[in-house]
């Protein structure tokens, strides 16, 4: 099947993800692995820094999406991406709210922060796939 040519904005966004967002996933995962491997439980300022590391890929991701939506000239594609982002954000908010409530009530296991990226990406990609199929 012939792959359609994407817009320049899409290629730029893909490059940014590859060279900025993906590498930013590494520090928190390395930190998590080191903390787990050496059984360290950070406290105080070090704990804040560790927690902040986990947010870096999200900051980068949101910035890349925002830049892409600003650069993309194809308004229909902008609409598709915006809708898929809404699905990803909505599902992430709903599931994390549900799970944290369960945690607060001590009836559920602890939610691992490393799952949040997947929790966002799965509904986002599913929504994008469904929307593209719908309008192909």
């Amino acid at each position: 099947m012939k792959r359609e040519v994407e817009s320049p904005a899409t290629y730029r966004a893909e490059d940014r993800f590859l060279f900025i967002a993906v590498p930013l996933l590494l520090p928190p995962f390395i930190a998590a692995w080191l903390l787990h491997h050496f059984n360290v439980h950070p406290t105080g300022f070090f704990a804040v820094v560790c927690a902040f590391l986990f947010t870096l890929p999200f900051f980068a991701g949101i910035a890349i999406f925002a830049i892409y939506l600003g650069e993309e000239k194809d308004e229909f594609k902008r609409m598709l991406i915006s809708r898929a982002l809404m699905w990803g954000t909505g599902v992430t908010l709903a599931v994390t709210t549900f799970w944290s409530t369960m945690e607060n009530l001590s009836v559920g296991p602890v939610f691992r922060v490393r799952y949040v990226v997947g929790l966002f990406m799965i509904p986002y990609l599913v929504a994008l796939f469904v929307l593209r199929r719908r309008y192909r």
């Binding site: 359609e4 000239k73 194809d74 594609k77 309008y135 192909r136």
Partner: protein, 64 residues
């Protein structure tokens, strides 16, 4: 909103991909507009009108 995009395109013997290239949008966008699933913005509607050398009202009309 109804539109005559498919007719105008067929008159010129253009494929959806040809029109998409001329408009600098994706083929999906052209398909979505043609099938009435997506209403284009005013700038894109003007671009279409310019491309087909006609008025916007000759391409798009209100659904009654």
């Amino acid at each position: 909103m109804k539109n005559r995009l498919r007719v105008l395109r067929a008159e010129r013997g253009w494929s959806q991909a040809d029109l998409a290239q001329r408009l600098e949008v994706s083929r999906q966008s052209v398909n979505a507009i043609e099938t009435g699933k997506f209403d284009p913005s005013l700038p894109l509607a003007f671009k279409l009108a310019r491309l087909f050398e006609t008025q916007i009202e000759n391409i798009f009309s209100e659904e009654t």
